[in-house]
Amino acid sequence: MDAHIDVADCLRRWKQGDESAAEELIRYLHPVISRIVRIHLPRRDHESDVIQEILMKTFSRLHQYKGDAPMSHWVSRLALTTCLDRLRAQKIRPEVRWTDLTPEETEAFDAAWYGSKTPDATDAIHARDLVDKLLSTLPPEDRSLILQVDLEGRSLEEISASTGWGISKIKMRLFRVRTQLRKTMQNLEERS
């Protein structure tokens, strides 16, 4: 049984055509999916449509869910795969130049460096747009990896379990991603 609802009971009721069971599942899974979509996709990427797409996939594949792990874990994997597929369809930026940044983003860049003021909600949005621009230079898997480590605080073992990659491969990829991000940041600083 998952934390908030009796998933097995909901699934049984949904199979019998009970719509309220589907509603319960949607309300239960929404925060899980919303968090993953918000982390792994850029800010302006039709969030609501993606969440709905993931929910549709979830319901159409319910027969594959064996119940040996919490449903939220199973749906998280599905959500992450969908986000990665969506990112793969987008073009990877070759680089980010200082002139690509909006004045608000350059301000966020400086604020991150000097810590000049306490960030408010608007600063957070500008900083996010800048983060999205920096991440858009990375391949989808690398982008997802750095966010899992630096933002979600997941351990290498956890990532290894969910991706099937070996620890050394993850470390190698992380090193490569950090090097590339560092280079991008240095380029921005030189041109600022």
Partner: protein, 99 residues
Amino acid sequence: MNTIPPDDKKWQALLAMSAPTFTGDDTPAFGFVTSTLARLKAEKGERDMFERIGLRALFASLVVLVGVVGFSAGLQLQERLDLEPSVNSLAQAEDIPIA
């Protein structure tokens, strides 16, 4: 001593600054559940319809197959019973019963 390079610190600072934008919503937006349920219902209806059409098509093709097999078996049996005209007349003249 293991020190974090300044650019990594800057990256971490940017992530920390933008952290509130990465938080998911606990509750769906107004109308989201209704529209998702409607879409779910429509897709389920479509799937059921395709299943029904598929079952009917399968049944119809089985009926056709049985018909064709029956017809060709009948033809074969007929051919076996059709004897040469000379053999047929001889059988009639001698009053030989043909099974």
